[in-house]
């Protein structure tokens, strides 16, 4: 027996399996990052001195990174919308741009990290840097994870478009939901770590 509702929506819930699955996964991710943000609060409230982010971190680079990541969310939506309009060529283009933007983000992050390491600003230096590296490092891993999935859907995974276009479109939509979440986390990280 086939497993029902992998592609079609179940009439009484109005959803397919993957869509519920990805939202549940995102709920658990909210708890993961939520716990780290809560830890940030508790550490900062308990600290006698706490540096302002912009006195240590590179705000212009992070601003560029914010723009890069928001743009990648836009191209991600356009990749999905192209599939909805049956334009596979456009999907390849926009999905490719999304992956490139992810690479660009990681490149800038690498420049930031290596500058910190170069100046001996390590997690062992103080608790601010420790939470900075933990939060941005975990976020970076999520960016890499999202790029692996997006890369798979851009390359070998795209074969599914020929046999089951609706299923493939759903996959792009769900990986897009994850990508938007990663973007959203950064939008919280940026002011909390760099500006406040």
């Amino acid at each position: 027996m086939e497993i029902p509702f992998t592609v079609a929506e179940r009439p009484d819930t109005g959803l397919n399996n993957g869509k519920i699955g990805i939202w549940l996964f995102l709920a658990s991710e909210v708890m993961l990052f939520g716990a780290l943000f809560a830890s940030y609060l508790m550490l900062r409230i308990g600290a006698t001195v706490w540096p302002r982010g912009d006195s240590i971190l590179n705000v212009p680079l992070a601003t560029v990174n914010t723009i890069v990541l928001i743009s990648s969310s836009v191209t991600m939506v356009m990749a999905w919308a192209s599939l909805k309009r049956n334009d596979f060529g456009k999907f390849r283009l926009f999905q490719g741009l999304t992956i490139l933007a992810g690479l660009c983000f990681l490149g800038i992050k690498y420049v930031e990290y290596s500058a910190k390491f170069h100046h001996g600003l390590l997690p062992s230096k103080n608790t601010f840097l420790a939470i900075y590296f933990t939060l941005t490092g975990l976020h970076g891993l999520h960016v890499i994870g999202g790029m692996v999935v997006n890369g798979y859907l851009w390359g070998p995974g795209a074969k599914l478009w020929k046999t089951d276009p609706e299923h493939f479109t759903n996959r792009v939509e769900n990986s897009g939901l994850f990508w938007h979440f990663v973007d959203l986390v950064w939008i919280f990280l940026f002011p909390v770590l760099y500006l406040l």
């Binding site: 497993i3 179940r10 658990s28 993961l32 939520g34 830890s39 308990g46 390590l122 103080n126 420790a130």
Partner: protein, 593 residues
């Protein structure tokens, strides 16, 4: 009734043939079939339960006869653990920490959720498999890796984790390499439960059979659904805490390390500025919902067994479901009742003791409903029912002894004493583990097509019940006398403990007796696979959908897609010729039967 048994024979054979094509590795090892994965989870979980129990039988020797040597064991375990057969304090701490970790994260939860959830839930909702079979397989193998990491940690220099199953900082941050292994193992286990819980929720929402509306779901399915939400939302904060502790241990950060910490007379080489209480908050934010992860599946199993063996509907099915959800929700806001001693202030303590008193209400509602379900039933006292019946008072003792611990004033003399150990072991051991045994005896015929032996089952049940009370009841006496937990010598170095310490020998003998009492179960389990009494698809004359599938169910479970025509517990319906009306019996079949 013959109409129910009309599984078309040729179709079943065809399914069977298809099943064979997969080959040994895909069929039994890297299988995506929920039943195989469920059995893998259950067997691995049972082995870990046995191993974790083995650790405690060693600890009980040290507690009963502190420092007395066991030379043959010394040769076996080596000089780093038991030189000359006398146990080192470090090894005792490893045994304690790993006993807790193994029993909770690698024994009970994988058996209750991974095992029973995987095997029974899709069958009970009439689904062909889980919603994401490959993710289901990944969940098991992630659990397996986590378990192996934990086992391997016994062999790294310095041995396994020894900061308790709670891994409180700063002790855990300065501990040996075993703690790093513990953290990596936990990350695997958390990943496993994340994958599993998403799968369970999606399966329950999406793959219910035709006609199976939410309020026709068996109570077991509800309990797994709420459990999955707890796993989904409570584990990530522990993962965050685990990452932070790894940073502290490997990256030299100070999330949990306060300023000016002195270790062994020297200032610790940390920058400080961290907060050890942060670990406790994050840990208990998981670990209190985790307590309900341990108990809710047990409620589910016991409900199924009780309804079936009293031949009566569950008393107050709907109010039980509402209580379950309320319990799940409240379990997220009681965690700091584990932390009354941390100096967090009376306002916080008042809040958490209030929520703790409130959460006891739905637990009592469910337990009372189960007791009331017995009223007026014509009870079948078979092995699963005996375990389920024993669960009720045992869980009752565990729950009621918890109330004084939830009140911040009453907690002061009891905190971290053997009273606490007695309390939570009553909940988990004669509570949850008895319910799990009930489930094994109850669903064994579905998994194998054969019943387990009743005689050996009773030989397993009665000694287990007596010995398990022999272990845990005296713990209340020790605790009320003020004996602390986690003492290497069991309290022998404290004068005030002397009048009650003789109970340690009694408890240890009971523990070894309990170990012996598991032998009939092990024999029964393996013998019955080959030699048990053969049964048809519905040996217990039960009503829920899993009994519409052949025993054992083939790949894809049902020979024809089942339909649910009524609620889950229609036993002894007036006017019906038999004392059970299955969910899958249509009005037409009912008329002809």
């Amino acid at each position: 009734m013959a109409t129910l048994e009309t599984a078309p024979a040729h179709e079943a054979e065809h399914e069977h043939a298809e099943h064979q094509h997969l080959g040994f590795w895909r069929q039994y090892v890297f299988s995506t079939d929920h039943k195989v994965i469920g059995i893998q989870y259950a067997v691995t979980g049972l082995l870990f339960l046995l191993f974790g129990f083995g650790l405690v039988t060693l600890m009980r020797w040290q507690l009963a006869y502190p420092g007395r040597a066991l030379p043959w064991l010394g040769k076996l375990l080596g000089d780093t653990r038991m030189p000359g057969g006398a146990m080192l304090p470090e090894f005792y701490n490893q045994l304690g920490a790993m006993h807790g970790t193994i029993m909770v994260f690698m024994g009970v939860v994988p058996l209750a959720v991974g095992g029973f959830g995987n095997f029974v839930l899709p069958l009970q909702i009439g689904a062909p498999d889980m919603a994401f079979p490959k993710i289901n397989m990944a969940s098991y193998w992630s659990y397996f890796l986590g378990g192996m990491t934990m086992l391997a940690s016994f062999f790294v220099p310095g041995g396994a984790a020894q900061s308790g199953w709670t891994s409180y900082a700063p002790l855990s941050v300065i501990a040996g390499q075993g703690q790093t292994m513990w953290l990596f193992g936990m990350i695997f286990l958390i990943t496993s439960s994340l994958l599993g819980s998403i799968n369970f929720i999606v399966t329950t929402i999406q793959l219910r059979a035709n006609g199976l509306s939410f309020f026709r779901l068996p109570f077991f399915v509800w309990s797994q659904l709420v459990t999955s939400f707890l796993l989904l939302l409570a584990f990530p904060p522990l993962e965050a805490a685990g990452v932070m502790q790894l940073m502290d241990r490997l990256g030299g950060s100070s999330f949990f390390m306060p300023s000016g910490l002195v270790v062994s007379g020297q200032v610790a080489a940390y920058t400080g500025g961290g907060n050890p209480l942060l670990w406790q908050h994050l840990f208990w934010f998981l670990a209190h919902p985790e307590v309900y992860v341990l108990i809710l599946p047990a409620f589910g199993i016991v409900s199924e067994v009780i309804a079936n063996n009293t031949r009566k509907p569950l008393w107050g099915y709907k109010i039980m479901v509402y209580s379950l959800w309320f319990l799940g929700f409240m379990s997220f806001i009681v965690w700091a009742h584990h932390m009354f001693f941390t100096g967090m202030g009376t306002t916080m303590a008042t809040f958490f003791q209030t929520t703790t008193m409130i959460i006891s209400i739905p637990s009592v509602v469910i337990l009372s409903a189960l007791f009331l379900s017995l009223w007026g039933g014509s009870i079948r006292f078979n092995t699963p029912m005996l375990f389920a019946l024993a669960f009720l008072p045992m869980f009752g003792i565990g729950g009621l002894t918890g109330l004084p611990l939830g009140l911040s004033a009453a907690d002061i003399p009891l905190h971290d004493t053997y009273y606490v150990i007695g309390h939570f072991h009553y909940v988990v051991a004669p509570g949850t583990i008895f319910a799990l045994f009930a489930g094994i005896y109850h669903w064994f015929p579905k998994a194998t097509g054969r019943k387990m032996s009743e005689r050996l089952g009773k030989l397993h049940f009665w000694p287990s019940l007596i010995f398990i009370n022999g272990i845990f009841m005296p713990m209340f006496i020790l605790g009320l006398a003020g004996v602390s937990r986690r003492l290497y010598d069991g309290g022998a170095s404290y004068d005030f403990a002397k009048p009650v310490l003789h109970w340690n020998v009694f408890m240890s003998i009971s523990a070894w007796g309990l170990a012996l009492a598991q032998i009939p179960f092990i024999i029964n389990f393996f013998m019955s696979i080959k030699r048990g009494e053969k049964v048809g698809q519905n040996p217990w004359e039960a009503t829920t959908l899993e009994w519409a599938a052949p025993s054992p169910p083939p790949h894809g479970n049902f020979t024809t897609a089942p339909v649910a025509y009524r609620g889950p517990y229609e036993y002894s319906v007036p006017g019906h010729p038999t004392d059970f009306t299955p969910q899958f019996l249509s009005a037409q079949q009912q008329a002809t039967s």
